[in-house]
């Protein structure tokens, strides 16, 4: 979503993005003239008149599970966004019985919070696991 009109979105997709992504952008490119939606989400920059790089993860119930907002010159890490969605999906599928520690990615150990884990995280989770 940006302040550009849907017509500019089409031109950008036709003339540039479709050369980066085969078949063009598959998902809806939303238009937010005047920043009315961006303002509600806290990402509209009133001085510059544009949206900043806000990214919101919204679960199937419509609950915001996470967000990140960057200033314009630094791009996002798409894989990190996907990793976070995968982590939230795992937690949801476990009905909250499992949690994903720092550095978690699919296939890695999760934590099962409970009385027997108190003070014992050091036994099942090592600091290096945050970085591998």
């Amino acid at each position: 979503m940006s302040i550009d009109s849907v017509f500019v979105h089409k031109m950008w997709d036709d003339n540039e993005l479709s050369k980066m992504v085969q078949g063009g952008i598959p998902f809806p490119m939303l238009s937010d003239a005047g920043g009315r939606v961006g303002r509600v989400f806290g990402v509209f920059d009133e001085d510059a008149g544009v949206e900043t790089r806000g990214r919101f993860i919204i679960d199937p119930e419509g609950v915001v599970q996470g967000y990140e907002i960057l200033t314009p010159p630094v791009g996002r890490n798409v894989l990190e966004s996907i990793r976070q969605v995968q982590a939230f999906q795992l937690v949801r599928n476990s009905k909250g019985k499992e949690a994903t520690p720092s550095g978690w990615k699919p296939g890695k150990t999760t934590l099962k919070p409970g009385p027997e884990l108190v003070g014992k995280v050091w036994e099942v989770w090592k600091t290096e696991m945050a970085f591998d």
Partner: protein, 83 residues
């Protein structure tokens, strides 16, 4: 799910949906801060409608139509910008 939109000479626009958001006077900075404070992790996302372009179609997208799915909503400064 999204419906096709009539495309005329006017630039289509959307906006927030629902009483609480619509009734906020958006011009005063103080109330803007109030509105932006609405986004909190673990809390419901405010609904909105917005015109969109998708694969050759101009459509109208309402966020609440995506209930039941995971949504990644991304804002960015502008088309044809570089990052």
């Amino acid at each position: 799910m999204p419906e096709d939109m009539e495309v005329g000479c006017a630039r289509p626009t959307g906006g927030p949906v629902g009483e609480s958001v619509e009734s906020q006077p958006l011009k005063e900075p103080a109330s803007i801060r109030e509105v932006t404070a609405m986004i909190q992790v673990g809390k419901k996302v405010p609904d909105f409608v917005a015109p969109a372009y998708q694969q050759g179609r101009f459509i109208s997208v309402k966020l609440s139509e995506y209930l039941g799915k995971w949504v990644l909503l991304c804002f960015y400064p502008g088309d044809f910008t570089f990052v």
